[in-house]
Amino acid sequence: MSGEASSARMIATLTVAGLASGLLLVGVYEITKPIIEANNAAALERAVFQVLPGTTSMEPIVERDGALAIGSGSKDEEELDTIYLGRDSAGTITGYAIPWQGTGFQDVIKLIYGYHPARGVVVGMEILESMETPGLGDKIFKDASFLANFEALAVEPTIVPVANGAKTEPHQVDCITGATISSKAVVKIINGGNEHWLGLLPEGDPWGARPEAPEPTPEPTEPTP
């Protein structure tokens, strides 16, 4: 270590360090990637089953240029171009699970909610990601009585947040005392998701009967011109 090292030696040291580090990271990435993807898929599936009570199978539905088709869309979660169709064991549609996001009190709130088209109600809601204040804003996913608002919530004419205990209509949501901003944010996100998706959802069940075995999602054949 004593004395001046030559430039070549310095460059060599850093090159070797960078190469070794890169190789190691590629290895770790390759090993952990399938596990991480499986975790994410399992978390999504759990969330879909959670917000659509009675669901036993799900299919992704993607929006391209205003039309819906079965198949998964962009892998990028920010794209919000994919929703999930849930069916119960008899093959009846239990609803659509719609991921949507919007600004909360601290940062973006990402959530997924279940919408039952025939009944016209939201049937469940789960927060996927939020940085809301621990102890106050995080009640949007920890407070059972707030979550109960979303078990049969009418979407017409629009969902309205009201002060805690003031809920009288099926389209109203009781806000959490002390976390009004977070509660209103959740309602606003669901309204935003509804505005985008509800007009696109078809009536009835045009998706065909549920396949016997869950088929692998077909790759999109070609981009819509």
């Binding site: 090292a5 850093l14 580090s21 990271l25 770790v28 596990i35 975790n39 621990p134």
Partner: protein
């Protein structure tokens, strides 16, 4: 140096990190994760474990390679080594414990800039044998984890009325929400630093008095 001596010294290097040179209470290093992730005890433990992995791995490697790294590029080499370990633990946590990873969020990646880690490489691992470097790293991370746990435990008990997620006081407890918010972290850290300095001061006074009485 005989084996016995070397083991005794390794033990000393290990033990100093826990109390006498505790990275948080004495050196006041690593304040960012200390304040940011200690709103629950479990987060504190996970952060402590991640830091332990990175610090022990980096110290081992830096000490092993200390004679091959030209001193002009040593800091950059240390950073590459540290960043590699941090990225490894980041992926591993994401795969093995996604919930923990979600709670700790960006603070796992920010272990790279924890001064505790680079500090130990520069001050210790680059000048000592592998055995001593690992002993020192183990001691420092244990001390860091101990400090995180002190703060995380107290904040979770007061702020959520639970410890490791187990409710302690029943439903009638009104949690001090401020304790799990950032100001609670600062307040509690101040109190804990005060408490440990007071203990240290008291021990020093007692030693001084004993020396005085012994001399008289």
């Amino acid at each position: 140096m005989s084996d016995l001596n070397s083991s005794a010294r390794a033990y000393t290097e290990f033990a100093k990190g826990i109390w006498k040179e505790n990275p948080v209470f004495v050196q006041v290093l690593g304040m960012c994760p200390m304040l940011a992730v200690t709103n629950t005890a479990i987060n504190a433990v996970a952060m402590g474990a991640a830091t332990l992995f990175v610090l022990v791995g980096s110290s081992f490697l830096v000490s092993l390679l200390r004679n091959y790294i030209p001193k002009q590029v040593r800091i950059s080499t240390y950073i590459v080594i540290i960043a590699t370990f941090v990225t490894v633990i980041d992926y591993v946590l994401k795969a093995a414990a996604p919930e923990v990873h979600r709670d700790l969020g960006a603070f796992i990646a920010l272990i790279v800039v924890n001064c505790l880690i680079l500090g130990r490489q520069e001050a210790f691992a680059s000048r000592n044998t592998v055995k001593m470097a690992v002993a020192d790293a183990l001691g420092m991370s244990a001390g860091f984890a101990f400090a995180l746990l002190c703060l995380g435990g107290v904040r979770e008990i007061l702020g959520s009325g639970s410890l490791f997620g187990i409710s302690l006081f029943g439903p009638n407890f009104e949690p001090w929400v401020v304790m799990i918010l950032p100001p609670g972290g600062f307040i509690m850290l101040g109190l804990i630093l005060f408490f440990f300095s007071w203990l240290e001061q008291r021990a020093r006074d007692r030693r001084a008095r004993a020396a005085l009485e012994g001399g008289a």
